[in-house]
Amino acid sequence: MTTTVADHHHDEVPKGITRWLFTTNHKDIGTLYLWFSFIMFLVGGAMSLVIRAELFQPGLQVVDPHFFNQMTTVHALIMVFGAVMPGFVGFANWMIPMMIGAPDMALPRLNNWSFWLLPPAALLLVISLFVPGGGPASGWTLYPPLTIQGGMGMDFTIFTVHILGMSSILGSINIIATILNMRAPGMTLMKMPLFVWTWLITAFLLLAAIPVLAGAVTMLLTDRHFGTAFFDPAGGGDPALFQHIFWFFGHPEVYILILPAFGVISQVIPTFSRKPLFGYTSMVFASAAIAFLSFIVWAHHMYTVGMPLSGELFFMYATMLIAIPTGVKIFNWLATMWRGSLTFETPMLFAVSVVCLFTMGGLTGLMMSITPADFQYHDTYYIVAHFHYTIFAGSVLSMFAGIYYWLPKWTGHMYDETLGKWHFWLTVIGFNVTFFPQHFLGLAGMPRRIPDYALQFTEFNQISTIGSLVMGFAQLILLVVVVKAIRGGKKASAEVWENPEGLEWSLPSPPPYHTFATAPEVR
């Protein structure tokens, strides 16, 4: 079953910068996506440290409030659209063809284009910080009428969102086409690794949600410059309309960020438990249920906007329902570990921390779904804590798990386990020190998105800032680990781990430039 491609005349690897500019190779493009994501992660992380520095003490010390608002806005946009989404597309590019036994993505040229749209978009967003009036300062949710007031930087942001959206749509078309058409013989849908499944579902979510966002920001643009009044009450428009449209995109978006992460965790936990994934079928159905529900719960972000009672009840019940498929996933992971034979290499450490910490984020989410209570939680630091437990501890830590898990496959070298463990412990401790106290801040009444606060919030803010420094600098360890593994180190075997499941492990480490030129047999 081993596919030897050494004598294949296509296998010479192109050299120099043109290799990366013109590449149509899924592995190269995956690498580009991952590096782009990592750079964005550092840039967005630097911005969050500006935020935390200002919040270390009450009063204004470091930045002016308008710049503070730009930092919270651009930090979030960069992390969501620049770090997490492209990061998982990078994983999809590298792993999906290797997992389903395909030679490459279905649409390789499109693939090149979807990546190369990203750097100009990111550049546009960063440049917006330097134009007159500064960057966007209305929060990543871009609510009008505040966004209508913004300067030229706001238009830069709108175009950034357009370009990033285009990239996501092209990327998801490619992923769907690859998964549906390029599977090796015998790789039926219900035999696909869970990572492939969650990405298939995510790609459909992207196709449905991104155009809605594009529409919303386009309406902002025409309200700003072309005399329309979609969101302007003076012209008969409705500011709350934007929020409905935005969150119709926004809630599926948060599942776009988390479903591929669930996929990664579902690959990692079985390997280090030496036991097959518990409840594969229910995992697939739970993912699909979450995806469906994610389209009918958007207004749980808008309880305070003033909806009719029936609307508030509907969105409360629908949101509470999401807890059930989410719970199923968590229980399945626990059951996979149950009576397994566990070892705790770095990928597993990250995976275990994801299960624990994401559970906390899910539970606070459940609390916020309770409308009457959310009238207290909404727009406070409680929300900030919730979404960092879901997005950072859910999505980003899953990406770390995936990086350590597949890095030996990608580079052909084992990573430095000691450094990996340092990275893990500093990140997880730093994370909790940063974000756990924010639950208390939110409950005690600290609103989010403020540069300065009343004195009773001082202590927890100081702890939070210290945690963020630890967590922030710990990420440089990851850089060192990855660079070391690329340059050398202990040779990795094809399997890397002990009997891991999946076609990717039947290929040598690193895999040749082109793999599965002839499709493998899947029993």
């Binding site: 009450p58 009063g59 204004l60 409030p65 308008h66 300062a137 929060g139 009428p145 505040l146 009450p233 500011p239 438990s273 097959p276 409840g279 305070t304 906007v305 009672l309 009840l313 409360m316 509470m320 329902l321 059930i324 719970g327 199923v328 968590i330 626990l334 059951a335 570990m337 149950w338 009576r339 397994g340 034979s341 566990l342 299960v355 559970t359 539970l363 606070t364 459940l366 609390m367 309770i370 409308t371 009457p372 209570a373 009238f375 207290q376 909404h378 727009d379 208390f440 409950l443 009444g445 403020i450 540069p451 300065d452 606060y453 004195l455 009773q456 001082t458 202590e459 702890i463 210290i466």
Partner: protein, 275 residues
């Protein structure tokens, strides 16, 4: 032999970690202490003084307990597995891949818990949304950056803005007790009266929030939102704008004085004479 050494190593590492951890926490506490006048480490929702705030508080405590128990269960199972099923302790992997019974249990029990949560939540929501039979109406308008209050039946209206001096914000002067939570003209409400608030805004969206009086509601230009407040006790209650509204979003607090009826009437008279 091998496992013994490993256990020792883990114990040693834990000891180091614990030591480092407590040292860190200790330094943090020592260092954070002198920087503020009133270290109170508030952990929970503020003490409620209206029926709505109390219902929210009770609901919040109920769901906090429920999710804490669920969380502890998940963590316990996780830690049990981590300790018990280690390969280094000779654990052999079982082969099972599903169990219909378990899967039914962990779908049905959460559903029941959700229903148990939904019932009091629905009741609370019905209570909050019932703005009928109010004793008086105040129109609240948010603007960049402050609030305007209009006692519509009384012909009294005024603006309310932050009074914390710039010198305290930039740090050239010591910060006062109510730093950022003080305004020139307080909103005054009579105790025990059901007050209907009509919320709107002049420019962008704001949100009116005094935690002890109940939840927040958005103030949206071109629209009128409603909420109601009936304070059970007199006192001064402070809050802030809760929706990002531009540069000085952090600097538009709300201060409400709840007073008895006589004082309220006297205050109204005073306001009318001003105008």
């Amino acid at each position: 032999m091998h496992t013994l050494r490993e256990t020792k190593m883990i114990v040693n590492r834990l000891k180091h970690l614990l030591g480092a951890g407590s040292a860190l926490v200790g330094t943090l506490v020592l260092w954070a202490m002198p920087t503020s006048v009133q270290a109170d480490w508030a952990l929970n929702l503020q003490r409620p003084v209206t029926e709505i705030a109390r219902v929210q508080y009770d609901l919040h405590m109920l769901i906090t307990y429920i999710v804490t128990v669920i969380g502890i269960m998940v963590f316990a199972i996780m830690f049990y597995s981590i300790v018990k099923f280690r390969k280094s302790k000779g654990a052999q992997a079982a082969k099972f891949t599903h169990s219909t019974k378990a899967e039914v249990i962990w779908t049905v029990i959460p559903t029941l818990i959700l229903i148990a949560m939904a019932v009091p939540s629905t009741k609370a929501l019905l209570l909050m949304e019932d703005t009928t039979e109010s004793d008086m109406v105040v129109k609240v308008t948010g603007y960049q950056w402050g609030w305007h209050y209009d006692y519509m039946e009384e012909d009294v209206s005024f603006y309310s803005k932050l009074t914390t001096p710039q010198s305290q914000i930039t740090g050239t002067e010591t910060k006062g007790e109510n730093y950022l939570l003080e305004v020139d003209n307080h909103m005054v409400l009579p105790v025990g009266k059901k007050v209907r608030l009509l919320l709107t805004a002049q420019d962008v969206i704001h949100a009116w929030w005094v935690p002890q009086l109940g939840g927040k509601k958005d103030a949206i230009p071109g629209f009128i939102n409603e909420m109601w407040v009936r304070a059970d006790e007199t006192g001064t209650f402070r809050g802030q704008c809760a929706e990002l509204c531009g540069r000085d979003h952090g600097y538009m607090p709300i201060v409400v004085d709840v007073v008895d009826e006589a004082q309220y009437q006297a205050w109204l008279d005073g306001q009318r004479n001003k105008g």
